[in-house]
């Protein structure tokens, strides 16, 4: 079944007429993704055309969703306006908003996240590569690609990938596909300190998805999201899980004050997170080159077939 999105999901693009948004809209269309609308305030009534596709542009998310039945938005608008763009998705009652935009002020995200409490819309990102549910065509075409990930590195299959980092996600997906192991859905949750969907939220979805047989969990130093996910996995998840934490060599102490250390807690270093992973039965990838192999080891130990 995949999670969050399927090849049938209808998506709209906020910022479709910007250079960045336009480029990736074309790539998504080429991948076979059902992009049904664009939103650029002031350009309603125009069309976005590419390779035989003619996508209507609307002035607002609500108009676009109402006219086309789109349930998911990919947000490419510049940072000063991105918080507002997310709120517009919430107001329109979309299922999912995927914020690709990098550089949104933290305060804007604090307010947006508060405003989203109790609302049905889920947020992925910001500052994330997006989400891909691969298709069954050549180079995984026919899938749903939202965001900026390279579609062709994917392959339809049974592994779920969740990560904060874009290129590190591609690295993991590429390793899997090179070993002929496909993916259900690959999710980038974004690297910002305040984001929507967490590692744990995605792990829960993968755990509940019968098509997902194994999970790769990629984290970084800072915060406690990976630790929270690992503890839940230990208590609730029977599927094989491999983990990697980036930043073991990142320089410490590049900060002026000390308050971050007491709020962040003792578990936000790479070493501490890796220790928790091991304690929770997650197979730790020794290096970033070892991510797919680590999942294979975890699957073998549990007698699970990944492909």
């Amino acid at each position: 079944m995949a999670i969050l999105i399927t090849p049938e999901t209808k998506i709209l693009i906020q910022g479709i007429t910007g250079e960045f948004g336009a480029r990736h809209t074309k790539l998504s269309l080429d991948y076979g993704t059902k992009v049904v609308a664009g939103v650029t305030p002031g350009k309603g009534g125009q069309f976005f055309e590419h390779a035989g596709h003619k996508i209507p542009i609307f002035n607002s998310v609500a108009d676009a969703a109402h006219a086309t039945g789109a349930t998911v938005s990919a947000i490419f608008v510049p940072p000063p306006f991105a918080g507002d763009a997310i709120l517009e998705c919430v107001d329109a009652g979309l299922d999912l908003a995927v914020a690709i935009t990098e550089g949104i002020p933290v305060k804007d995200m604090i307010r947006v996240k508060r405003a989203m409490q109790g609302k049905k819309t889920r947020l992925l990102g910001p500052n994330c590569p997006g989400v891909v549910t691969p298709g069954t065509g050549e180079g995984s075409k026919g899938g749903c690609r939202i965001g900026i990930a390279p579609g062709y590195i994917h392959k339809r299959g049974h592994v779920g990938v969740v990560s904060r980092s874009g290129t590190l996600t591609y690295e993991a997906v590429f390793q899997l596909t090179s070993k002929n192991i496909g993916q259900t859905t690959c999710v980038g949750i974004g690297g910002d300190p305040v984001n929507g969907t967490s590692h744990l939220d995605v792990i829960k979805l993968f755990n509940a998805d019968p098509e997902t047989h194994g999970i790769i969990l990629i984290g970084e130093i800072g915060g406690n999201a990976e630790v929270e996910a690992a503890r839940w996995i230990k208590a609730n998840c029977k599927k094989p899980v491999a983990g990697f934490i980036a930043g073991a060599t990142a320089p410490a102490g590049r900060r002026m004050g000390h308050a971050g250390a007491i709020v962040g807690g003792a578990e936000d270093t790479a070493a501490a997170k890796i220790a928790v992973f091991k304690e929770c039965g997650i197979e730790v990838a020794a290096t970033p080159s070892d991510m797919a192999d680590a999942l294979l080891r975890a699957a073998k130990a549990k007698g699970v077939t990944l492909s």
């Binding site: 990629i218 999201a225 308050a259």
Partner: protein, 394 residues
């Protein structure tokens, strides 16, 4: 973005957070004018650098203490002359230390008791958190570790802002009453307003003090700002002190490169922050030491690669370079062509290992092979890391 204590205190005053009377000076001539603004009597002399641990720091000429108490303004002037232009090494500066280019004089305060107060983001709840303790003027990490019950936290709901009852509750926990409670309450509310309105990433006051007369003052001030929000605060951008930043990092930012210098000898050039961090990790895993973090972003254009090589080669410790590019959308052949031209332009003599993967990678590898350059190709991250570690060790 970080600012100096004297700048932070000027902001404090603007938002109604009381601080001791003070004045900054950048030359011995200015010492006289600055000191003239302060009352006679005990005076503090404070080195202005963007790092903590100044009081316990040592200057490279052996002079101890970047923050000094002086009985008179005359003594303060003499001590300031020893600090200005001198290089201060603290636990947060690294062994190279920082050159002191500004001195901040303040009237020394009568201290009744010291407290700790900070405001920052609590990532777990995605809300601002106020952190306070009765244990001020000491290392707060140690307090948090040894007696966590002495650390009090207040999460602020961004929909309503800081509520009066939260302030009252915090003040009670700090054991303040009467005039002290009233003054502390006002200070906390004003400090929160400053944190929120200036898009600060962190505000830390250690120590916050009470005086025998019931006043509450911020004796120190460390403030940093959210870089993503600087576009709406030109008055804060104006406070940036380039002297406090690594010239290589400033140069890198001109080309949209994210660069952080480290102590090792294997430089790396990578696209994507997560992949860049992991490249450093894998170099260390195979026994090498990374010389830097360098993220060229999603693009990796020729101009960026040239700029990146120049910055990397500006670090004399570098003995080899590992390039790790996952060209997802970008054509690997375009990246390979950029690398070849960059190597030729900068006349690279050091060992170079290139790991290239992704879109049109076969053509990219062919371009590298046909370049006639003495670069080594890595099949994957592990292979490339092992090769560069071996070449640098040889």
């Amino acid at each position: 973005m970080n600012i100096h204590e004297y700048q932070a205190k000027a902001l404090f005053e603007k938002f109604g957070v009381p601080v001791p009377k003070g004045a900054a000076a950048t030359s011995p001539e200015e010492f006289i004018n600055a000191l003239a603004q302060l009352p006679e009597g005990p005076t503090m002399v404070k080195s202005q650098i963007h790092a903590g641990g100044r009081g316990k720091g040592t200057f490279t000429d052996g002079f101890k203490g970047g923050v000094k108490f002086c009985q008179t303004k005359h003594d303060a002037k003499e001590i300031a002359a020893k600090m200005l232009g001198n290089t201060l090494v603290t636990i947060q500066t690294g062994p190279a230390g920082r050159k002191v280019q500004t001195i901040y004089f303040t009237a020394a305060s009568d201290i009744k008791k010291e407290y700790y107060l900070a405001i920052l983001l609590d990532r777990a709840s995605s809300r601002p958190v106020i952190v306070a303790s009765t244990e001020g003027g000491v290392e707060i990490e140690k307090v948090a570790h040894d007696s966590p019950e002495k650390i009090h936290k207040v999460l602020v709901d961004p929909a309503y802002g800081l509520a009066d009852f939260q302030v009252r509750d915090l003040i009670t926990k700090l054991g303040l009453a009467g005039a002290e409670a009233k003054n502390a309450g006002k200070l906390i509310r004003n400090l929160y307003t400053m944190f929120w309105e200036t898009d600060a990433a962190m505000v830390e006051v250690n120590p916050l003090i009470t005086t025998p007369t019931g006043d509450v003052l911020a004796l120190d001030a460390k403030v940093s700002f959210d870089a993503n929000a600087l576009y709406r605060h030109p008055e804060i951008v104006a406070l940036r002190d380039l002297n406090e930043e690594d010239p290589k990092e400033i140069e890198a930012s001109k080309f949209s490169l994210s660069y952080i210098a480290l102590d090792g000898n294997i430089a790396c050039l990578v696209n994507g922050a997560g992949l860049a961090m992991s490249t450093m990790d894998i170099i260390q895993h195979y026994g090498g030491t990374p010389a830097n973090f360098l993220d060229v972003g999603g693009g990796a254009s020729k101009d960026q690669v040239i700029a990146a090589f120049k910055i990397i080669l500006g670090d004399k410790n570098v003995k080899g370079i590992m390039v790790n590019i996952f060209g997802g959308i970008m054509d690997c052949n375009v990246i390979a062509t950029g690398i070849v031209e960059a190597v030729k332009e900068v006349g690279l003599k050091l060992p170079l290992v290139v790991r290239l993967e992704g879109n049109n990678v076969a053509a990219g590898k062919a371009t590298l092979a046909a370049s006639g350059l003495a670069l080594v190709s890595g099949d994957n991250m592990a292979d490339a890391a092992q090769k560069i570690v071996k070449l640098v060790a040889a």
